[in-house]
């Protein structure tokens, strides 16, 4: 992809089939790139406006689930005049095609981009991952 091409707006996709959500608010699907190297799977997703403490990453039964919540209290006292995008939490799940070493998952957050490094090895127990 040439970096000199003018960027176009990517309309946010609303999350469908969000079975377990009980609040009426809308969730969005973060734009995600997935790349696989010899020994790891890299999942890179855009979650603008989310603080690292508001991200939950879980791997269970070969399913990777990510939930990232925006802090909308920052908008308190602000009256919208003109809008081009909506604001909401992000959630997305992926079925992992390879066994992932769940003890060795790395997560970093930079400029609203969450990068997960999932090392491929044998199966392991479900666990919760903290963001470094």
């Amino acid at each position: 992809m040439a970096d000199s091409k003018p960027l176009e707006v990517q309309e946010k996709k609303e999350l469908v089939g969000k079975g377990e959500k009980t609040v009426p608010a809308r969730y969005f699907m973060p734009n995600t790139d997935i790349r696989e190297t010899e020994n790891a799977l890299l999942v890179v997703m855009e979650v603008p406006g989310v603080d690292r403490k508001d991200i939950d990453i879980k791997v269970e039964e070969d399913t990777l689930s990510i939930e990232a919540r925006v802090d909308y209290s920052k908008y308190e006292g602000m009256e919208p005049l003109y809008t081009e995008y909506n604001v909401g939490h992000f959630a997305r799940r992926f079925a992992l095609s390879h066994m992932i070493d769940q003890q060795q998952i790395g997560a970093t957050l930079n400029d609203g981009v969450l990068t997960l490094t999932l090392r491929k090895v044998q199966q392991a127990q479900p666990r919760r991952i903290d963001i470094s």
Binding site: P6, T37, L42, V47, Y75
Partner: protein
């Protein structure tokens, strides 16, 4: 309209509906000095000032350039999306490239007091309304 909600379960939903309703607002005008409509922005009024909230995930602060002249704000920059070397690609949804957008506000702003913050992929521009542009109360004699 002040958004102070009491019910935490409804707050976000009401806010989202309010944002949706202003999708067709013609409050903001495009300016001929820029091109394209990236990055997407929301405009809010906070007291007498204007706040632009712009989504720029993956854009480094050092790759952003913001200029102000009169009522026109120009936001330009480059979004870099790392490429995979020796990796097979499963999914590509993120796009990188250059952007240059200019907008003209229908009110006068004090260009010397503009503040810009960029955090977690959100660029916020605080545009104070120019003192001479503020409405004055007129007392009835």
């Amino acid at each position: 309209m002040a958004y102070l909600y009491s019910d935490p379960f409804e707050t976000l939903f009401q806010f989202q509906n309010a944002l949706d309703q202003l999708r067709s607002s013609n409050w903001l005008q495009a300016s001929p000095s820029g091109g394209g409509s990236y990055p997407p922005m929301n405009v809010f009024r906070k007291g007498e000032d204007i706040v632009l909230v712009i989504e720029v995930p993956g854009v480094r602060k050092s790759d952003l350039r913001i200029d102000a002249k009169g009522n026109t704000i120009r936001i330009a920059g480059t979004k870099t999306v790392e490429q995979a070397d020796k990796a097979s690609v499963h999914r590509v949804e993120r796009r990188g490239g250059q952007f240059d957008r200019a907008i003209t506000l229908p009110i006068e702003i004090d260009a010397d007091r503009i503040k810009a913050e960029c955090r977690d992929g959100i660029l916020a521009l605080h545009l104070p309304r120019a003192e001479r542009d503020k409405p004055r109360a007129i007392s009835v004699a």
